[in-house]
Symmetry: C2
Subunit: 253 residues, 2 copies
Amino acid sequence: MISVTIIGSGNVAQHLVSAFAKSDLVEIVQVFSRQKVTSIPAIEPSKIVSEYTDLKLVDLFIIAVSDDAIAAVSSQIPFANMLVAHTSGGVAMGVLDSKHRKAVFYPLQTFTKNKPIVFSEIPICLETQHQSDYQILETVAISISQKVFSINSEQRKALHVSAVFVNNFVNHLYQIGNEICIENNIDFEILKPLILETSKKIETLSPKQAQTGPAKRNDNTTIESHLAFLNNENQKEIYKILTQSIQENGKKL
Amino acid sequence: MISVTIIGSGNVAQHLVSAFAKSDLVEIVQVFSRQKVTSIPAIEPSKIVSEYTDLKLVDLFIIAVSDDAIAAVSSQIPFANMLVAHTSGGVAMGVLDSKHRKAVFYPLQTFTKNKPIVFSEIPICLETQHQSDYQILETVAISISQKVFSINSEQRKALHVSAVFVNNFVNHLYQIGNEICIENNIDFEILKPLILETSKKIETLSPKQAQTGPAKRNDNTTIESHLAFLNNENQKEIYKILTQSIQENGKKL
């Protein structure tokens, strides 16, 4: 068994605890919660600690806290030469305290509190400072996911930027669609099958092959009529820049 | 039985033919194909015609052709006072020839050739010039879909604009994510579970509730580092405008 302690009690931390609880290879020794959370699903309350001095020695510490707290938290672990991984896509491995053997354990998914996640389908991106630590991290990752990738810091940054486009920005476009529906007294439910199919389509087609719509067709009559319809300047700007981007892209064919 | 003829042999036409073939309430009398297509799945070749003079009288003509051909095609139907519906989200009902009883039969989905569609889950938006024609159109729609909505032309325009945001523009963001991956030698497969989960998340949360990421958190350090990372001016512009839009939106809370 590999002994692991999770530092943090937010969404990612809780989903990791639940996933490891089902693993035969990993034992969760403790969960550290600054907020003195007393109950976390799938872990005995006695294993939840809120003082760094209460932490026990383990094979791996996984830090699942907000990006700007990672450095400080890693320096507070009261041992040296520990294998310590953070879980952030947006933070370099180097911010971890130099007294540790540094690593990254980045599950690339959007986590929602109380919404169950099939962890086995979540890609986990791994990086270690020392090659000799990679195997232990990989064993821990494979125990909860079938999709484990070795990703260096530069690649992880690229992935994180990509994730902002395909997750954060995509969700914002859903919101704009929702706002247009509300303004026109239309049930947003009508658009949900389209939203789901759009995301499923790229399982079999590349996004470039899957592209449709007035911009792709250079259908300027429809584009002009849509711009005339939109009365929100911000939505108009977004419509223009994305239409232009699709059209420029089409020329690159 | 309601007798229906489909005019057109593209994606939407073929998916409609396949869906009606399974219906007990609708009989496909003919399929009209300008391109003289000789074989369409789920229809006997003898029922495929390519001359307007070969069209028979039916209860409903459904025109599933490209937007700019709808008006001309509707005027070529060699009968008057027919119930004629087009299937476009982006075209007003009024473009249909005035000799007919006008209608719209708009299935709101993205259709891909050779990719099967569960039609029962596709919302169909209906509009008729004459109230007395609504019921026949509704019967035809209900025979293939559980989600049938009465949507007037103004609402349909709003829906179509929304669909551009949540389908065409979203797919373009997928493509940008894909490009960033390719440039950095990363398998785009890593992002697909995130893409799927992002679309599923809004089944239970509103897009506003589901919003996460550096823009939402006003995490300017991450935003600046992402902008510094992007070397494509177009991607940078899109990143900026969508980040700003999310931030402005957050202030409206």
